[in-house]
């Protein structure tokens, strides 16, 4: 039965459609890479397709010369490292008790309601700003990490994953005299590699991609995370600001907005994700599915 079947027209059509889907997702990225290696004029004229025109690395050379890009790059790296570590610790600690049946953990219901409620409501930007300021977190990397320390969605994901782990394993550990913390570390975590890898990937991506909190909470250039920095370069200038600028400043600003240069920055800022993602990808299908679609 499992012998090679002949390839039908339908097979070819399916393969073709899949390839189209795949390419559709890669073309914008390839186009950006091509622009980043093209000369300014061709880029500004929109002549670049999927292959660079007048190949050059001026955009990348400009990045190498721009210290701020690296500052921001490493701010983001630090943020990802510390943020993900905190996210994971809290997620694991919260998901475990919440995965228990109400019979085993009577207060669970109240905790869940609070968590769900908080998913939907927030006080808005002003109270959050005041809070961060009063906690003296302003202009520190903690202002970007602590407010989002508990990724509620991930907690629910992991919680559902934990629910799928057979009770018998836990009971066996209880008989051996293990306390819940030991059970979590020795029984649950080793069995949840896929889910943990998935959630780690989500946390990394989340921290790497965030730009808005950096706009609000960071007060000095050298501490801006990378996406915020890139975003600030792409916003356009309004005439009132331009009117009060000196010619020197103007030309600086204009220099910054070269398409080639921006594309090069975008490519470099994508690199970490492109490097990490393939390694964690194999886990994440299992991870999401087990967490989201529980029977």
């Amino acid at each position: 039965m499992k012998k090679k079947r002949k390839i039908s027209t339908a097979d070819i059509l399916i393969a073709f459609l899949l390839i189209v889907c795949g390419l559709m997702c890669l073309i914008p990225i390839l186009n950006t890479v091509a622009i980043s290696f093209s000369d300014k004029t061709s880029a500004a004229m929109g002549r670049v397709g999927l292959w660079p025109i007048n190949f050059n690395v001026a955009g990348y050379r400009a990045i190498l010369e721009e210290k701020q890009f690296f500052h921001s790059f490493f701010v983001s790296v630090r943020r990802v490292a510390a943020g993900t570590a905190l996210n994971m610790t809290l997620t694991i600690l919260m998901a475990y008790p919440l995965s228990k049946e109400p019979g085993k953990f009577r207060a669970k219901k109240y905790y869940m309601w609070i968590v769900i409620f908080l998913m939907m409501f927030n006080g808005g930007i002003v109270p959050n700003f005041i809070l961060v300021k009063n906690l003296n977190l302003m202009d520190t990397i903690w202002a970007l990490i602590l407010p989002g320390a508990v990724p509620v969605f991930n907690v629910i994901l992991l919680m559902n994953f934990f629910k799928g782990i057979p009770d018998s394993l836990e009971e066996a550990a209880v008989i051996d005299g293990a306390n819940p913390l030991q059970i979590l570390i020795k029984v649950f975590l080793p069995m949840s590699k896929a889910a943990l890898a998935t959630i780690t990937l989500f946390c990394i991506v989340n921290h790497w991609n965030a730009f808005f909190d950096g706009k609000i909470y960071i007060n000095s250039l050298e501490k801006l995370p990378l996406q915020t920095y890139i975003q600030s370069l792409v916003v356009d200038l309004n005439p009132e600001q331009m009117a009060s600028m000196t010619p020197e400043q103007m030309s600086e600003q204009m220099q910054l907005s070269s398409l080639t240069f921006n594309s090069a920055k975008v490519v470099v800022s994508m690199l970490p994700i492109l490097l990490i993602y393939p390694f964690l990808q194999k886990y994440f299908v299992t991870g999401i599915v087990m967490g989201a679609v529980k029977e």
Partner: protein, 577 residues
């Protein structure tokens, strides 16, 4: 029981959030106490030994005996080109301020320009202001002043403003402090909104010469030149790639000095879009809804249809990509102020030649243009700051070293600026700028003199900076090697200071004063919607997405959506003046 617990839960946040407010209040009282303490202290000092010392501290550059700390908020420079050892919070300028004035400047916070006013509002909301703040929005200033948050600078200005500051402010004829004075009290200082920054027409001289064309003056001549540019492609950009007139993607029509804006076309028709104007009967009207606007829009739409305007202008993000087009030599003409040429266009093509024109002229041969707003960005001092005069002292120090009045200080600072480090990143007052109102044409004359006669003229107000610029223009005129790292700068000096700056004050120039430059009570509520409507109208009519007749509909809508209310408010303000 349960209810009580919920109530308690609800109260906690209020207490924690409220903490700051009460803290702010207690801060205030504490500060007041401090001030009192200080006053008595200086009082005893004056009674005692230090009469002379106290006098010297109470002078524009007087050094404090005890270290004074002030915090400042400023606009972030996103590309400051910093070098080792220089940062906004620790740099040579701050060192000099400490050394000469005994002031420790702390940067409280920075925010990028588009985000600055938001962040200031957030900080106001949180009840904690730095001692000195940069203010980018007049309405925010008014709100702060009206709510008694700012220090009265009237006497402080008299006592502590340095000679340079007083001299430069004098050239504005008081026009710049008037809007900052409320009930006779001065609450802020305005950065010099220097004059002559209106748009003029820039053209590729090499292209004109190649095609044997005259520099255009009228609208018809301009169109002819653009047509020739587009058809004959003198720059060899390839068929269809040459752009006649490069224009601003998102704001083709805005206010004063809008690089790549097309306002001069409207001004030549005697209409001043985006400005509050007064008719002969003294009635205020909004320039953008005047009937003559239609004629200007028609001209622009026709130019767009004919391909004389960049057909893709709407898709260029902001003005950045428009600049890339000009820099890469694709455009033959553009409207921009005297500084509207960039070093990049020279780097891309060292043989580039430019020229300028006061065009288009109106029916009477006049080149109409708007006067700038009397004020621009502001600096103000928090009412809670115990040493409000520190602001003036800092400004005095900054400009003494920047303009070479303090030659020793300049010698320390200039080499750093020469390496391309942004001045605004290092100066604690950031973009705050002091200059003579007519500095541009004056420096233009200096450059003209030097370039054409080889003699450096000037008077006592001529600074090192001026001479440096004039020398740059001269070096370019004498032929500089394009590989010289300073070549792009001399290119800018030559075209900006010599070519561009010498047509700003000529007889055909006709500066026009708007009736009113500021916001009114309902502006913050109504203006965003109206501005949006207006911005869209320009783009839609120019690109033909909507017909010219849509303008009438726009006027109706504009009035209905609050334009009439604003007009009335402005009328009241103008009548009151």
């Amino acid at each position: 029981m349960k209810l009580k617990r919920i109530a308690a839960l609800l109260l906690v946040p209020c207490v924690i959030l409220g903490g700051c407010q009460s803290a702010a209040v207690s801060d205030e009282t504490e500060n007041a106490d401090n001030r009192q303490a200080e006053e008595t202290e200086t009082g005893t000092q004056q009674d005692g030994e230090g009469q002379a010392e106290a006098d010297s501290a109470a002078s524009p550059k007087g050094r404090y005996e005890e270290p004074v700390e002030v915090s400042i908020s400023k606009v972030m420079v996103t590309n400051p080109h910093l070098i080792e050892g220089q940062s906004p919070s620790d740099n040579v300028v701050l060192d000099l301020i400490k050394e000469d004035l005994n002031i420790d400047v702390k940067i409280a916070w920075e925010a990028e320009s588009s985000e600055y006013n938001n962040k200031l509002s957030l900080n106001i909301a949180s009840g904690d202001l730095p001692d000195i703040m940069y203010i980018t929005n007049y309405l925010t200033f008014r709100e702060m002043a009206d709510n008694d948050m700012l220090a009265d600078l009237t006497d402080i200005y008299e006592t502590y403003a340095g000679d340079y500051m007083k001299q430069t402010y004098a050239t504005f004829g008081g026009r710049n402090l008037e809007p900052l004075t409320i009930d006779g009290k001065l609450y802020a200082l305005s950065t010099a909104n220097i004059g002559y920054g209106h748009n003029i027409l820039w053209l590729r001289k090499d292209w004109l010469d190649k095609l044997g064309l005259e520099v255009p003056s009228t609208m018809e001549e301009l169109k002819h030149v653009l047509r020739e540019f587009v058809e004959k492609d003198p720059g060899g950009n390839g068929p269809g790639n040459t752009i006649g007139l490069a224009i601003h993607a998102t704001k083709p029509v805005a206010g004063y000095g809008n690089k790549f804006g097309v306002e001069p076309i409207f001004h030549s028709l005697g209409v001043y879009p985006t400005q509050w104007m007064k008719d002969d009967a003294g009635n205020v009207y909004y320039g953008s809804i005047a009937p003559e606007m239609k004629e200007g829009l028609e001209i622009l739409h026709d130019m767009y249809e004919e391909g004389l305007i960049d057909r893709q202008f709407v898709t260029r993000v902001g003005s950045g990509e428009t600049d890339a087009i000009v820099d890469s030599g694709l455009a033959g003409a553009w409207f921009a102020p005297w500084w509207g040429q960039s070093g990049d266009s020279y780097i891309n093509n060292p043989d580039i030649e430019l020229t300028v024109s006061n065009a288009p002229l109106d029916g009477e041969g006049k080149f109409n243009h708007l006067l700038p707003s009397p004020t621009a960005d502001l600096v103000a001092v928090s009412k809670d700051c115990p040493n409000p005069e520190a602001l003036l002292k800092i400004i005095n120090e900054e400009y003494d070293i920047y303009r070479g009045i303090d030659a020793e200080g300049m010698a320390k600072v200039q080499p750093i600026f020469d390496q391309g480090v942004s001045r605004e990143a290092l100066f604690p007052t950031g973009g705050f700028n002091l200059d003579y109102y007519d500095v541009v044409p004056k420096l233009g004359k200096l450059c003209k003199n030097l370039v054409e006669t080889g003699v450096m003229g000037g008077d006592e107000t001529t600074t090192e900076y001026d001479r440096w610029k004039a020398e740059g223009a001269k070096r370019y005129a004498d032929g500089i090697d394009p590989s010289d790292p300073n070549a792009p700068n001399t290119f800018r000096d030559y075209y900006g200071r010599y070519v561009g700056s010498n047509i700003l004050d000529t007889p055909e120039n006709n500066p026009v004063d708007a009736a009113y430059y500021y916001t009114t009570e309902s502006s913050d509520r109504l203006k965003p919607t109206l501005d949006k409507l207006e911005e869209q109208m320009y783009l839609q009519i120019i690109t033909g997405e909507k017909p010219l007749e849509y303008f009438d509909e726009f006027v109706e809508q504009w009035k209905k959506l609050g334009g009439d209310v604003l007009t009335q408010e402005v009328q009241v303000m103008v009548d009151g003046q």
